[in-house]
C-alpha cells in the first residue's frame, strides 16, 4: 500500500475518534438550557467528522484515480537521502525545546547552532563557534530589547 493510503488510514482513525467524541461524549457536558439552541458546540464537528470519514475512505480505497506522481523526494528510496541528518536535526530541535527554559536562551541557542552545523558535517570550529555566539547574542538583543519580548538568558540555577 502506498504512503498516501497509509496516511489516509491514519486520518480515517483521527476522524473516527473525533467523530465519536463529537457524536457521543461531547453533549453530555452541555447545560440543559443550551440544548434548546439550534446549534450546539458539537454541531459543526459532527458535520466535519462525517465529511472527513467519507473523504479519507475515498482516498484509502483509491476511488479517485490520478496519475502516480513522484515528488521532489521519492519516499520509497528514503535511504538514498540524508535521512540520518534530518532525524538528528529533528531530535536536536526537540532537545532545544526542552532545554530552552531550564538551561536558558544563550547556552541552548549557541549549542543548537553549533550542533546543527556539526550534524550537517561542518568541522571548522574556529568559524562555527564565533558565528553561533555572535548570532545568539544578536538575536537575544533584538528580541529582548528591540521587540521587548522576555527571553530568559541564563540557566534557572543562576537565577537568570
Amino acid at each position: 500500500m502506498a504512503l498516501d493510503r497509509w496516511i489516509a488510514l491514519v486520518l480515517l482513525g483521527i476522524c473516527l475518534v473525533y467523530g465519536y467524541t463529537a457524536w457521543f461524549t461531547m453533549d453530555d457536558a452541555l447545560a440543559p438550557f443550551m440544548k434548546r439552541n439550534p446549534i450546539w458546540p458539537s454541531t459543526f464537528p459532527k458535520l466535519l467528522s462525517v465529511l472527513g470519514i467519507i473523504t479519507s475512505t475515498i482516498i484509502l480505497l483509491g476511488l479517485e484515480k490520478g496519475e502516480q506522481k513522484i515528488g521532489e523526494i521519492d519516499y520509497r528510496r528514503l535511504g538514498d537521502y540524508k535521512i540520518g541528518q534530518a532525524i538528528m536535526l529533528l531530535v536536536l530541535m526537540a532537545a532545544y525545546a526542552l532545554c530552552l527554559r531550564p538551561v536558558g536562551f544563550v547556552i541552548s541557542t549557541a549549542a543548537f547552532l553549533i550542533l546543527g552545523s556539526v550534524i550537517l558535517g561542518e568541522r571548522k570550529w574556529q568559524i562555527m563557534i564565533p558565528v553561533a555566539v555572535v548570532a545568539t547574542f544578536l538575536v537575544w538583543y533584538l528580541v529582548q530589547e528591540v521587540l521587548g519580548i522576555y527571553l530568559r538568558p541564563l540557566p534557572t540555577l543562576l537565577g537568570g
Binding site: P38, K82, L90, L147, Y150
Partner: protein, 504 residues
C-alpha cells in the same frame, strides 16, 4: 476614493512605513533567493516581528513587502542558478537560465525586474478599481452568504489542486477545519477536543502551524536532498541595459500578462504559479514562428511573460483577502492570520472602518515595486552573494528562526514540541503528495466559518437558511459543482483514452 488614496499616501509615506517597505523588500529578496525557501516560510518567520510592531498598517506593509521581495528574489535564483526558490518562478527559469548561460544574466535580471515592476504596478491599479467595487457588493452579504462564500473558496482551492488530488486537497482542508475546532470557540464558552491538556485550551497556535506546514518541511527537504547549486554559469552579472527594440517587443507581453495574471490571482486557489505557467504558454502560442523557436533557448518574451504574470497574480490575490476576508492562497492565508492577531478583521468593512490600512497597503505596493526596481536591481550582484553561504551554516539558522518564530509568538516551549510534531507530519504529507496550503487555509478560515454557520443557524432556527436565501443556495451549489467538475473531467478523459467514444 480620492480621499482614500490621500489617506493611504499619508500613511504609506510616513518614515516608519517607508522603512518597512524597504526592509521588507530587502529581507524578502534576500531570503527568497535561497533555494527551497518560499514566500510562505519567509512570511511565517517574519510574522512575530510584524505583530510586535503593534501597528496593523505597518505590519501588513512589511509583510506585503516581504511577499513581493521573495517573489523577486525567487526569480533571481531561477535565472542565475536554475534553482527556483519559489514555485511561482519556475517558469522564469525556462528562458531566464539559458539567457544567463549565454552571458546575458544582467539583461535577464533587468527584464525580470521591469516585468515584475509593470506586473505589480498594473496589478495594484486594477486592485484599486476592483477591490472597492467588490467590497460594496460584499456589504450586502449576510452571515449565511459568508458561510457559503467560504465554502466556495475552500472548494475552489481543492478543485485547483489537479487531477487525482482533489480528494487529498479536500481532506487537508477538513483536517485544517478539524484542528481549528480544538480549544475554546468564540460562541461557546466550553473547551472542545483539548484532551484535558491545558496547552490546548486556547487552540493550536497559528504561527506554529504555519511554520510547521511550510518552513520546517522545506528546510528538511534541503537537508535530505542538497541541491547542487551551479554557481558557475550566472555568477558574473554585467551589462544590465536592454535596447529599445527589446523593450518594444516585450511591451505587449507585459500588458497582456498583467491583466491575465491579475485575474488568475483573484481566483481562490489559483495563484502566482498557475498564472506564470499559463502566461508562458499563452505567450508562446501568440508569438510568431521564429520567436516560438526561441522559447526555451533564452527568449526575452518567454522571460517577461511569467515574471509579469506572477507579480500581477500576487497583487490580485489581495483582492479576496482585503474585500471578503477570504484568502485564496497559502500566503494570503498567513497574512490573514497576522491581521487577525493584530485585531484587524479584513472584509468589506475594512475599507470603511480602517481606510488607512486598506489604502496604505495598496499605495505601499507601488512603492514596493518601485523599490524593487531602483534599489534591489542594482544591489542584486551583492545580494546574490548570499547564495554562497554554505548550507552547513544556513540550515541550522533556518531551523532556529522557525523555532524562534513559534516561541516568541506564544512564549511557551510546549509550542516548540508541537512545531516539531506537526513538522514531521507535514513532511510525511509532502512525501505522499498531499497539498499543505489547504490545511492552513482551512485552519485559518475554520473559526470564521463556524461562527458564520452558527449565526445563520441561530437566526433561522435550523438549516433553513440554505434554501430560504437564494444566494446562499446558489453559492453552495457552485461549491459542489467546483468539487465535482475535476473528477468528472478526469473520468471523461480516462474514458476517451480507453477508446470509448463520447456521446457528442
Amino acid at each position: 476614493m480620492l480621499e482614500g488614496i490621500l489617506i493611504g499616501l499619508k500613511t504609506a509615506l510616513s518614515i516608519q512605513n517607508l522603512l518597512m517597505v524597504i526592509g521588507g523588500c530587502l529581507i524578502g529578496t534576500f531570503i527568497g533567493m535561497l533555494p527551497g525557501l518560499g514566500p510562505m516560510s519567509i512570511i511565517a518567520i517574519m510574522i512575530p516581528v510584524a505583530i510586535s510592531l503593534g501597528d496593523p498598517s505597518a505590519a501588513l506593509i512589511l509583510l506585503a513587502g516581504v511577499y513581493y521581495g521573495a517573489i523577486f528574489g525567487g526569480s533571481t535564483s531561477s535565472i542565475l542558478l536554475n534553482a527556483p526558490g519559489v514555485a511561482g518562478t519556475v517558469a522564469s527559469s525556462f528562458d531566464g537560465y539559458p539567457m544567463a548561460k549565454k552571458g546575458q544574466a544582467g539583461k535577464a535580471l533587468t527584464i525580470a525586474a521591469i516585468a515584475s515592476f509593470c506586473g505589480g504596478t498594473i496589478g495594484a491599479l486594477l486592485l484599486m478599481v476592483f477591490a472597492p467595487a467588490l467590497s460594496s457588493v460584499a456589504l450586502l452579504f449576510h452571515s449565511a452568504e459568508y458561510f457559503a462564500l467560504m465554502i466556495v473558496g475552500l472548494s475552489a482551492i481543492a478543485a485547483f489542486a489537479g487531477t487525482g488530488q482533489v480528494c487529498k486537497a479536500i481532506m487537508m482542508t477538513l483536517l485544517g477545519l478539524i484542528l481549528a475546532t480544538v480549544g475554546e470557540g468564540a460562541l461557546f464558552n466550553m473547551p472542545r477536543f483539548t484532551m484535558g491538556l491545558m496547552d490546548l485550551q486556547s487552540g493550536f497556535g497559528f504561527i506554529t502551524l504555519a511554520m510547521a506546514m511550510f518552513a520546517l518541511p522545506e528546510a528538511l527537504f534541503l537537508v535530505l536532498k542538497p541541491r547542487q547549486a551551479d554557481t558557475g554559469a550566472g555568477a558574473e552579472i554585467k551589462d544590465m541595459r536592454i535596447t529599445m527594440k527589446e523593450a518594444k517587443s516585450i511591451a505587449p507581453v507585459i500588458g497582456r500578462q498583467s491583466l491575465q495574471g491579475f485575474f488568475i490571482g483573484v481566483l481562490p486557489g489559483a495563484g502566482a504559479t498557475i498564472a506564470s505557467f499559463l502566461g508562458y504558454a499563452v505567450e508562446r502560442n501568440l508569438a510568431t514562428k521564429e520567436e516560438q523557436a526561441e522559447f526555451g533557448e533564452g527568449s526575452i518574451k518567454g522571460l517577461a511573460a511569467p515574471e509579469t504574470a506572477n507579480n500581477a497574480a500576487c497583487t490580485g490575490s489581495f483582492v479576496p483577502l482585503l474585500t471578503l476576508g477570504i484568502p485564496g492562497s497559502g500566503t494570503t492565508a498567513i497574512l490573514l492570520g497576522a491581521l487577525i492577531a493584530l485585531n484587524v478583521t479584513p472584509g468589506p468593512r475594512l475599507m470603511i472602518d480602517e481606510p488607512q490600512i486598506f489604502w496604505a497597503v495598496i499605495i505601499s505596493m507601488y512603492i514596493g515595486n518601485l523599490i524593487l526596481l531602483i534599489l534591489n536591481l542594482p544591489l542584486i550582484p551583492y545580494i546574490a552573494k548570499v547564495l554562497l553561504v554554505p548550507r552547513n551554516y544556513l540550515i541550522p539558522f533556518i531551523l532556529f528562526f522557525t523555532l524562534m518564530g513559534a516561541y516568541i509568538g506564544q512564549n511557551n516551549s510546549t509550542e516548540l514540541l508541537m512545531l516539531v510534531g506537526f513538522g514531521i507530519c507535514a513532511t510525511a504529507f509532502k512525501f505522499a503528495d498531499y497539498p499543505l496550503a489547504p490545511l492552513l487555509i482551512g485552519f485559518i478560515l475554520g473559526g470564521m466559518l463556524e461562527d458564520n454557520f452558527s449565526r445563520s443557524m441561530q437566526l433561522y432556527d435550523g438549516v433553513a437558511f440554505i434554501w430560504e436565501r437564494p444566494m446562499t443556495l446558489a453559492l453552495l451549489l457552485l461549491a459542489v459543482f467546483l468539487v465535482i467538475l475535476p473528477s468528472y473531467r478526469a473520468r471523461r478523459a480516462r474514458l476517451r483514452a480507453a477508446g470509448i467514444a463520447d456521446g457528442d
